[in-house]
Symmetry: C3
Subunit: 261 residues, 3 copies
């Protein structure tokens, strides 16, 4: 058995903190296989981390353990938690970053409050190394969650703004952008109907199925690979063109007459 | 058996796209060992990707499977292909990025045209996840190429400019630079003779065997570790000094009299 | 047996040089597990590499082999060495970067001077690939150090400035900063007594146990997670505020009266 442990942090690629997490995990579970999911979450950016996990967390094999350390409140009263949802385990701070897991039906959530599973002494500034990584190692080794701590029923919700429906209209916004400048939104593809219209900052944009169908010089919308509406510009950056990343207003309507200019 | 799968992408280190590729590969082949070769190819930069694979692709162990996703034409008519050359497998788009493999003697090239090996539905914007990664997983698990698709004989050639010979002279150019500012060229070391002269932008530069032999303040040429001529500046950046990365003219002559100033 | 090989380089994440090291290591020891510790050491920065290894090298499991390639003197007379200390192996250049290992009690240090363990020919510009990686592969496979080369007793010492004690006072300096702008110093926590005072650039700063106890707008000191004094600014960058990274003067006194302003 070579358990998989997937790492998501804001420590920066190649930082000493990541190296220390790896040392703790491999020392505790020498046969573990570590997967660097990302260490490029901007420092303390809970939104970016939540968005990252939205599109990646449940794509790993069953029984993977996610170790998520994006923890601006380290040393404060925020709870350390572990979550099990859809056969995947998660360990991290209870600051909303694990909401993609805690919000799943039948998610099991425990507060990691049994010091026998921590490294002693716990550094007040590095729970990732002394608390979360040891707990992740235990869980990856097969220790059940209910042995790791007490069940809680009020994990912190997501910090991402949610899209809203109002009659035929959907009101959403951009949440971030990828390396190519494509803007990710909070509008689920499942809310959109065939032939719906899309406006970005009150301007209509056409919708295409692929990047290669779109003209080179005009913003367009498409369904992104993670199941949400995306705003893109072919072979250029939609984010640069719009001069923003987050909070750009998106409006969709299933009835084009209502929103045509 | 723990097959090796080596990843080369332009997705950026720590991007969600890389994480999703890893999820697909590990879900399909749980015992696979993933090697991050690079995710730092500049977006859509086929030249950089081709150059990267030139110095790295055949250094991996026999039976490694390379998954290469640098794919500006995703969703267009470019073919997805798999290649087997010198005991190494490659999966990626047929846009020239796999030319280091397709140009090998006795390379086997197939078009990946059997949808039973893809994830359904294939997202029109993310063939990496839905088409290339599933195919790489099959090939890494031992499925032979001729079962994965139809043999083709016209894979796209390299997009890198090639050096030219004319009498005693060799005309080449720089193709890129490394982190230290050393400029990589397309002049193969095997074309150079003992005592040949080298000019960069029409200026003669001395040739040294090692960085440490060179003076601190002057451009020089050397044979780079991947078997091509390199232009360097000791403990400084040749690229910064010359103000360019690609397309700097290189001229070599096996007869110094012909090119001396 | 799947030996662990941990990589620390200044090649940049995703560089061809890293990919080539991985190819050599996996070709020599196909079952090896490679751990990317960091490839983000600034080019040729021996201080940064030494500092990185200070907080990470001994956190890996026993029998791990560290391959460390930060080698501004490649091709010069600096010796290639291997070190064994506290049950961990190290391979790299003798330029001080392995001083955290060579300075351990009972460290074993050998010069790697047996060409039969190198790749032939050794590129004069890439000892990482042709000399250090092959040696690391041998050592990771179980070849004892005394078989790899001749014992030496004068490895190069650290390039990091050391803190000094003078009576009740400790004089140190900052050595670098982490991604969050926290400044790392050379003052060992073990030198500090309860209630000691700390001055940064001659200005007193308070000391707190955790980031979250500190006020938002003022520099403070704390014991960092690697056992040295750190200078921080809550949810902001101490380094940006002080306008420097290295060489900021730190003074501590176990007797506050001596240093109060």
């Amino acid at each position: 058995m070579q358990p998989l442990i997937a790492l998501t942090t804001d420590f920066g690629p190649g930082s000493t903190y990541v190296a220390q997490l790896k040392g703790v995990l491999l020392s505790a579970v020498p046969q573990a296989r570590l997967i660097d999911l990302t260490h490029s979450i901007p420092p303390h950016d809970l939104k970016a981390a939540t968005l990252f996990l939205r599109s990646t967390a449940f794509g790993l094999p069953l029984e993977t353990t996610h170790l998520v350390v994006v923890d601006p409140g380290v040393g404060s009263a925020r709870r350390p938690i572990a979550v099990r949802a859809r056969g995947i385990n998660f360990v991290g701070p209870d600051n909303g970053v694990l909401s993609i897991a805690t919000s799943q039906p039948q998610a099991q959530v425990v507060e990691l409050n049994r010091p026998e599973y921590f490294s002693a002494p716990v550094s007040p500034t590095f729970h990732g190394r002394d608390l979360f990584a040891p707990a992740a190692a235990e869980i990856a080794s097969g220790v059940p969650l209910d042995q790791m701590g007490s069940t809680i029923s009020d994990p912190k919700p997501t910090c991402l703004p949610q899209a809203q429906k109002s009659g035929d209209a959907i009101y959403g916004e951009t949440l971030g952008c990828d390396r190519f400048g494509n803007l990710l939104t909070n509008v689920p593809a499942s809310w959109l109907s065939e032939g719906c219209s899309v406006k970005v900052n009150h301007e209509s944009v056409p919708m295409f199925a692929t990047y290669s169908e779109a003209p080179n010089d005009r913003l367009f919308a498409l369904i992104g690979s993670d199941g949400y509406l995306e705003i893109a510009l072919r072979e250029a950056s939609a984010s640069v063109q719009l001069g923003a990343v987050e909070g750009i207003r998106i409006e969709c309507s299933s009835n084009p007459e209502h929103t045509a200019q």
